[in-house]
């Protein structure tokens, strides 16, 4: 079987920037920033967030918001890929998340702590809510499954793992991406780290003051060229490379030299068989925190040169944690397909300490390839190369 080319045949996305790809592109053109105070849980904290304001009808699941978001993106992606009967194929499901992996139900725990007993409803939801397992069972996928819990790089890593599955023949089709809800626990956690922005985030800006949390899901359907040919599917995009590397430096801070990010970029480019000059743009992790943007901007300038077209979409979606890699893979794909990228929302003043600035306005892009990066807690770095099919 020819596993050298992995096509992207479907995409699904939901975030504060829109409930699907069409709404998202409109938001991007208008530069809409749908941020506001937290409405999903009570809190005294004030950092604005990017919530998904209305879930499409039929997707609400009590206490399983991350799963709801994931299913919306999966259904969109399956529809986009025109995948109906999956029984003829080995279909793998690989989903990144942070929230769905933790039994962090405050009310359950409060009850247990106070009385030594608690209803099992939250536990049952947690046990049934493993993203990859639930999605695979719902759509009848019988291939490999993995829920990737690599903090903020989970979504990118999930897509990279799916690439490995497809190339090794473990499955014919893979559904991969990430999903996370806005949740009380990480909201408090990021505030405690002192990196939650009291205002709106401004990735790569001189005066950046931290991140805003968000929520959403982004999913790709990927398949070998042979599988696509067999089922009569066509595609204009492909997943060309993936790289992952650890800083081995610090639990919460990136390596100042960006050692891991450089290695991840080199591995992704190498697998794609291209050099840095082939990259049309980079959708950067760009959280709006001082350290991330400093390190990432410096490494991107070093690898791709100061003329690189680069943006962060976190100013339009917030930092969606385990979903970010999935959502931004979809955004990167859309950018390649549409031939433009939006202004890097929130960026106003160049930081002279960063030798690269993101785009300030909607920008036409050229080139067949683009990169999406993710940098995570624990010093994990991941990068994927997405390409346009020749002649598309």
């Amino acid at each position: 079987m020819d596993t050298s080319t992995i096509l992207i045949t479907g995409m699904g996305v939901i975030s504060a920037a829109g409930n699907n790809a069409g709404e998202t592109l409109l938001s991007f053109k208008q530069g809409t920033r749908n941020a506001g105070p937290v409405t999903l849980f009570p809190t005294i904290l004030k950092s604005p967030v990017f919530e998904v304001r209305r879930l499409p009808a039929g997707y609400y699941r009590e206490g399983l918001r991350t799963l709801s978001l994931a299913l919306i993106a999966v259904d969109q992606a399956l529809q986009d890929a025109r995948l109906g009967d999956l029984s003829k194929f080995r279909v793998g499901v690989c989903m990144g998340t942070t929230v769905a992996s933790q039994l962090n139900a405050l009310q359950f725990y409060k009850s247990y702590r106070e009385s030594g007993a608690a209803p099992m409803t939250s536990v049952d939801r947690f046990l049934k809510g493993n993203l990859a397992e639930f999605i695979a069972r719902k759509i009848g996928a019988r291939g490999p499954q993995a829920s990737v819990v690599n903090a903020c790089s989970s979504g990118t890593d999930a897509i990279g793992i799916a690439l490995s599955w497809l190339k090794s023949g473990l499955c014919d089709i893979a559904i991969a991406g990430g999903a996370d809800e806005l949740n009380h626990v990480p909201y408090c956690g990021f505030n405690s780290l002192g990196i939650a922005n009291p205002g709106l985030c401004a990735p790569f800006d001189r005066d950046r003051k931290g991140l805003n949390l968000g929520e959403g899901a982004g999913v790709l359907v990927m398949e070998t060229r042979e599988t696509a040919r067999k089922r009569g599917a066509s595609a204009d995009l492909m997943l060309s490379g993936y790289g992952s590397s650890s800083d081995a430096y610090h639990l919460t801070a990136p390596s100042p030299e960006g050692v891991g990010l450089k290695a991840a970029l080199a591995a992704a480019l190498s697998e794609a068989g291209i050099g840095p000059s082939s990259i049309g743009f980079v959708n950067a992790h760009g959280t709006g925190t001082h350290d991330n943007d400093q390190v990432e901007g410096t490494v991107l300038a070093e690898v791709f040169g100061p003329g690189l077209k680069m943006l962060s979409t976190k100013g339009l979606t917030g930092h969606t944690l385990g979903a970010a890699g999935g959502i931004e893979a979809v955004f990167t794909s859309l950018g390649l397909r549409e031939g433009w990228i939006p202004a890097s929302a929130g960026f106003q003043n160049r930081d002279e300490a960063i030798p690269l600035a993101p785009v300030r306005e909607t920008t036409a892009i050229s080139g067949r390839y683009a990169i999406s990066t993710s940098l995570a807690f624990g010093g994990t770095n991941a990068a994927i190369v997405i390409g346009r099919e020749a002649g598309s």
């Binding site: 933790q102 069972r137 993995a146 819990v149 599955w165 780290l193 995570a376 010093g379």
Partner: protein
């Protein structure tokens, strides 16, 4: 792919020698853990005794980490050392950590912070350690590993999923070696949940062959494997195949079946049709406790048996279904072992191990 090193932390201690000792000795009574929030509550459990672990250097280095990270780092370091490969961290080395529940005790500590002090006065250190990939990151930092580092959670099939990925990474040349392992921790909330949803063995004895009804005794620990395609001579065994959801190799002849049955499902009778009258069956969960990632410990037992060419009797031999059990500990010729697990949907996973 070959298993070239094994590291372990469990109630028996640290290192593959601790597993060997337990396999040789047989069943041992668990400790009793008093639960702080349940008046008079106490459960049997197989817990890691950190105070009596031999390695103090690494523990000191990662003193701010939680128990999940400590167990992971110690087991991972042991696996590297056990391989005997010089300068292993200078090679293309990846980390795949798998877990069913991750650092849940630290997560509950963080919830304590929120409940006791409010949203604005929680500990950033506790939050950082409550993130699922903290343990893998501590491994990378402590052992200076800069390759791809992934954490996967898939409940009963977490470990199998990690093994599949390790195989793919090795075959594609993404890594020369992969440090793949599984870790889970006991905590009083998990003990309460397990007791509520399952049946705790009040005598402390897991009976893996009763199948229905089942009894469980919570365990904790970490088992790590250094995996590679290159090193053959000193390897424990080859991992021939890892299947989830199906088993196309089921007709293959094997010398021993090891099953993951451990009372973590209220009904484990799905195992019964997978067993054969001709092939002796073993289950080693009574040595280390009930864990969704128990398959990693069973695989370690299988790998040890293939390397030593020695079989170990199944430690608890209650056998109401009169299946053929592995009842004797003795030297013998072993070529192939199958490790089988089921999840709560009665889906099957298998790992085939072969003598090098």
């Amino acid at each position: 792919m070959k298993i070239v090193g094994i590291g372990m932390v469990c109630s028996e201690g640290q290192g593959i020698a601790s597993l060997e000792k337990a396999l040789q000795r047989g069943w041992k009574e668990p400790v009793t853990v008093v639960t702080p929030h349940i008046p008079g509550g106490a459960y049997p459990a197989y817990l890691v005794d950190f105070a009596n672990l031999p390695d103090k250097t690494l523990l000191k280095k990662i003193r701010r980490s939680d128990a999940v990270s400590k167990m992971s780092v110690l087991a991972a370091a042991d696996a590297l050392a056990n391989s005997g490969i010089k300068d292993i961290t200078q090679k293309k080395l990846g980390i795949i950590l798998t877990t069913a529940f991750g650092p849940h005790v630290t997560t509950f500590n963080f919830l304590d912070d929120i409940l006791d002090h409010g949203d604005a006065a929680v500990s950033p250190t506790t939050f950082s350690n409550s993130v699922h990939n903290a343990a893998a990151s501590y491994i990378a930092m402590s052992l200076h590993i800069k390759g791809p580092t992934i954490t996967i959670t898939q409940f009963q099939f977490s470990f199998q999923s990690g093994l599949q990925l390790a195989q793919a990474w090795l075959d594609q040349g993404r890594c020369d070696y992969v440090l793949a392992g599984a870790v889970d921790q006991y905590g009083d909330v998990l003990g309460y949940v397990a007791d509520h949803k399952l049946t705790t063995a009040r005598d402390g004895k897991i009976k893996p062959f009763t199948f229905k009804p089942t009894v469980q005794v919570p365990g904790e620990g970490a088992a790590f494997f250094l995996l590679g395609n290159k090193n053959g001579g000193e390897a424990y065994c080859t991992v021939d195949a890892i299947h989830t959801n199906d088993d196309p190799d089921h007709d293959q002849s094997v010398d021993i079946n090891i099953i993951d049955a451990n009372g973590m499902l209220p009904d484990e009778s799905a195992y019964l049709p997978s067993l054969s009258k001709e092939i002796p069956t073993a289950a080693y969960s009574p040595l280390f406790g009930s864990m969704m990632i128990g398959s990693a410990f069973n695989m370690a037992a299988g790998a040890l048996m293939l390397k030593q060419q020695r079989q170990y009797a199944t430690p608890v031999q209650d056998n109401p279904h009169t299946i053929r059990l592995l009842t004797e500990t003795e030297d013998c010729a072993l070529a192939k072992i199958r490790c089988t697990g089921y999840n709560c949907y009665a889906e099957r996973s298998v790992i085939y191990l072969t003598k090098v």
